[in-house]
């Protein structure tokens, strides 16, 4: 509008200027038109003056040439007068008429002068008369001259004044136009920039996190549109943020529930926690958890939670018709979340459910499922199968009964993530339950084994006591003297009874060691002091066999993290073997040392040795070297097995090097206890 005004003003000023210039031109024109009249008037006076001078010259001098000149001139003023009358303005007509009369009066006298004799009295009277007539004409002529001149001046002045006035007006108008233009520009700038700046500032505030900021919808329509768009964007962003906040809240609650569910490895606890957790987080009206039975051939309802009653008794849950196994399995394989938002549509009759897994998708829900859904008033249901690996272990279903609160996408995401957590927790709990059962079974089995062993040990030892005892009584001849053959035979019985006893002892020891029954007795043990006590114990036997016994031990203790009874057993087995297989005059050397961060214990003898081909079988149960059995040297074939098992239990290794007929060296490498006293042994 201001622009329109401005343009109108400018047009007006232009038109004004044009008009002024036209008017001024016209005024000038009028002034110019007076000029010919003035010129003719003056011309006429000159002609009359010249004519008068000619006639007077004739009368003074009698020069006829002057009279002729007069006669030539006398008509000229009338032509000029006629011309003057033509060009003069109307108001000059009366003056010109007066001039005409006066001129004619004069010319009549001048004609008479030209007739008169020069220098005559008549001539003088005529000259006098003519002079008066001329003066009358001249005065009238002069008056017109003055009038015309002043009129011209007036017109010129008027035009100038008009022009000056117009210039001032136009200047004022232009100034007003300029002011209006400035005002309009300022107003326009304000109208455009203020709302734009405000909108821009709103955007800045929004960007800097002031989410409540909104643009003012002011200013021109276009800017209002921009502001409206900005506000719409801010509203949308508010909505998204609110969604996001809700989603975060739900996720947080879901995570906390997930943590609670994982608190304990108990299937019932997991089911209860999952039901209550899901109902809390999702504001569900029902939560169902189905759990596979009989290797997944059925998925009965294991838990039900209802908003009205909380957790329902287990039997009540089991009576709720469940999903057929094929539906759960198909659903699990698809890896989808199954959402039913219009449950009532499918409960009245058997309508196939589009997109539903398994038989539901083809034939719809069976009658009992429909009846149950209708009875519970389910409206929208989300069903997620749960499991780890190939087969589902169950399914989680959450339901709402009100059509006003259908499950939203956000809820479904939460259901999915919670169900996956519940699946893992249930899987772990189920595994743990199985493992626990297995461990309990194994414990029972282990106890039965121990009981069996102790029974066997008792039952075998008791008859052995009688056998060995009575043989001793007989051999001591406490019941009378014996013949030499009887004594030899009793020796055989005695030897075999003792062999049986050793076998039983070794077997029991081996099974106890293998079952780890000795494992808990480990502590710091000085290998050197064990070596000393073991050699002391074997010394009588060595002396009896005429075998020299040598020990080499470092002065400092060689501390191992070990079971001292077991290590003693190792030493005794190795030493008794060495003495047993070394002929008279031989030597047995025991050496303990620290080497490469390990304790190395070796027992060497100068005995019969072990055939090279048999060395690898040496540590097997009941294996005995052929040269030992050939020489009828007694043994159970279990001693070295016991040795190797004990050494292995201590994280060590056994080595043997032997040459038949020259001797054998058994070496045990064992980890040395660290400064903290902990063994590297497994």
């Amino acid at each position: 509008m201001a622009f329109g005004l401005l343009i109108a003003l400018l047009l007006l000023v232009g038109a004004g200027a044009l008009t002024v210039s036209r008017v001024a031109d016209a005024m000038h024109d009028q002034s110019y038109r007076l000029q010919p009249a003035l010129r003719e008037n003056m011309h006429m006076r000159e002609q009359v003056t010249r004519m008068s001078r000619a006639v007077r010259t004739y009368l003074l001098t009698g020069d006829t040439a002057a009279r002729s000149s007069y006669r030539q001139l006398r008509d000229e003023p009338f032509a000029t007068l006629a011309e003057a009358r033509r060009v003069a303005p109307a108001w000059a007509r009366s003056n010109l008429a007066a001039q005409d009369r006066q001129l004619r009066a004069y010319v009549r006298l001048a004609d008479q002068q030209a007739q008169a004799a020069p220098g005559s009295a008549d001539a003088r009277r005529l000259t006098d008369e003519a002079s008066r007539r001329f003066t009358a004409f001249d005065i009238t002529n002069q008056r017109l001259d003055t009038r015309l001149t002043s009129e011209m001046q007036r017109l010129e002045d008027g035009a100038d004044t008009f022009l000056d006035g117009s210039a001032v007006t136009i200047g004022v108008l232009l100034a007003a136009g300029g002011a209006l233009a400035v005002f309009t520009a300022v107003r326009t700038t304000r109208a455009l920039t203020r709302p734009l700046q405000s909108t821009a500032a709103t955007l800045d505030r929004l960007a800097s996190g002031e989410h409540s900021a909104r643009a003012h919808e002011t200013g021109p329509e276009e800017i209002r549109t921009v502001a409206r768009s900005v506000n719409a964007l801010a509203d949308e962003s508010d909505r998204l943020r609110a969604d996001e906040a809700e989603r975060r809240e739900l996720s947080q609650a879901a995570r906390e529930t997930g943590r609670r569910i994982r608190d304990r490895l108990d299937v019932d606890y997991v089911l209860d926690a999952a039901c209550t957790g899901m109902s809390e987080v999702l504001a569900a009206d029902y939560v169902f958890i189905l759990l596979a039975e009989n290797d997944g051939s059925a998925f009965p309802v294991a838990r039900v939670w209802s908003a009205e009653r909380g957790l329902l008794p287990e039997e009540e849950g089991r009576n709720i018709p469940t999903l057929p196994a094929d539906v759960v399995r198909d659903h699990y394989r698809r890896g989808t979340v199954w959402l039913i938002t219009d449950m009532p549509r499918y409960v009245s009759d058997t309508t196939p459910m589009p997109g539903a897994p398994g038989s539901f998708g083809k034939t719809g829900m069976p009658a009992e499922n429909r009846a149950a859904a209708a009875a519970l008033g389910l409206d929208s249901v989300v069903i997620t199968p749960i499991g780890v690996g190939e087969e589902p272990i169950g399914a989680v279903a959450v339901a709402r009964t009100s059509a006003d609160r259908p499950w939203r996408e956000m809820d479904i995401e939460i259901v999915e993530s919670m169900a996956s957590g519940i699946g893992r927790a249930l899987h772990t709990a189920l595994l743990y339950e199985q493992e626990t059962t297995l461990v309990e079974k194994l414990r029972a089995l282990d106890k039965a084994k121990s009981d069996f062993l102790s029974t066997v040990s008792h039952e075998l030892r008791t008859p052995l006591t009688s056998i060995v005892g009575y043989i001793e009584l007989l051999k001591d001849e406490e019941t009378g003297p014996l013949t030499p053959p009887q004594l030899r035979m009793l020796d055989v019985v005695d030897r075999n009874a003792n062999r049986l006893r050793a076998l039983i002892e070794d077997l029991l020891t081996l099974s106890r060691i293998e079952s780890g029954a000795f494992g808990s007795k480990k502590g710091p043990v000085d290998l050197c002091s064990l070596v000393v006590s073991a050699t002391d114990a074997i010394r009588p036997a060595a002396a009896a066999a005429s075998v020299v016994l040598e020990t080499h031990c470092p002065s400092r203790p060689l501390v191992l993290e070990a079971d001292s009874d077991q290590l003693d057993r190792v030493l005794m087995n190795l030493l008794s073997n060495a003495v047993k297989f070394t002929p008279e005059g031989g030597k047995v050397t025991v050496r303990a040392e620290a080497r490469d961060g390990e304790a190395v214990l070796s027992v060497s003898d100068t005995g019969i040795g072990i055939p090279a081909a048999e060395q690898e079988k040496l540590f097997q149960r009941f294996f005995r070297a052929s040269n030992a059995t050939d020489a009828a040297i007694p043994g159970t074939g279990l001693g070295l097995t016991i040795v190797r098992t004990i050494v292995a239990n201590h994280g060590g290794e056994m080595y043997v090097s032997s040459a038949e007929g020259r001797g054998t060296t058994f070496t045990a490498r064992l980890p040395i206890a660290t400064t903290h006293g902990a063994a590297a042994a497994s």
Binding site: H458, R461, T465, S466, G469, L473, E478
Partner: protein, 124 residues
């Protein structure tokens, strides 16, 4: 000469012990279970009791505890006979109040020397 009570459910062992200790000049009373042993220990004076740990009904450990609990038999020397050499049994035996133990299978010579050692310790 000492009066020795032997309780073992295995008659062969009872006879073995009885024979060897009789040879050593002791007077032997042999019974086949814990109840009989406890009854005998209450009714007759003994210098030493040999108790097999594993017996039907009342075990040797139970008998030992009862013997120690009754004032008249509280100081009666008791040697337990065990078929197990695990330390657990030995500890249980000493906890029940036994003075010594002997592990099956034992030789009769070992038995008589243990008995002699125990009797001489009591006499002193």
């Amino acid at each position: 000469m000492a009066r020795v009570l032997i309780a073992d459910d295995d008659p062969d062992i009872r006879d073995l012990v009885a024979f060897k200790l009789t040879q050593n000049g002791h007077q032997i009373t042999a019974v086949e279970d814990g109840m009989a042993a406890l009854r005998a220990a209450r009714e007759q004076p003994f210098d030493l009791v040999l108790l097999d740990i594993r017996m039907p009904g009342m075990s040797g450990l139970d008998v030992c505890r009862s013997v120690r609990a009754a004032p008249e038999t509280a100081s009666l020397p008791v040697i337990l006979i065990t078929a197990r050499s695990q330390e657990g049994d030995v500890e249980l035996g000493f906890a029940a109040g036994a003075d010594d133990y002997i592990v099956k299978p034992f030789s009769p010579r070992e038995l008589s020397s243990r008995v002699a050692a125990m009797l001489s310790r009591v006499e002193r």
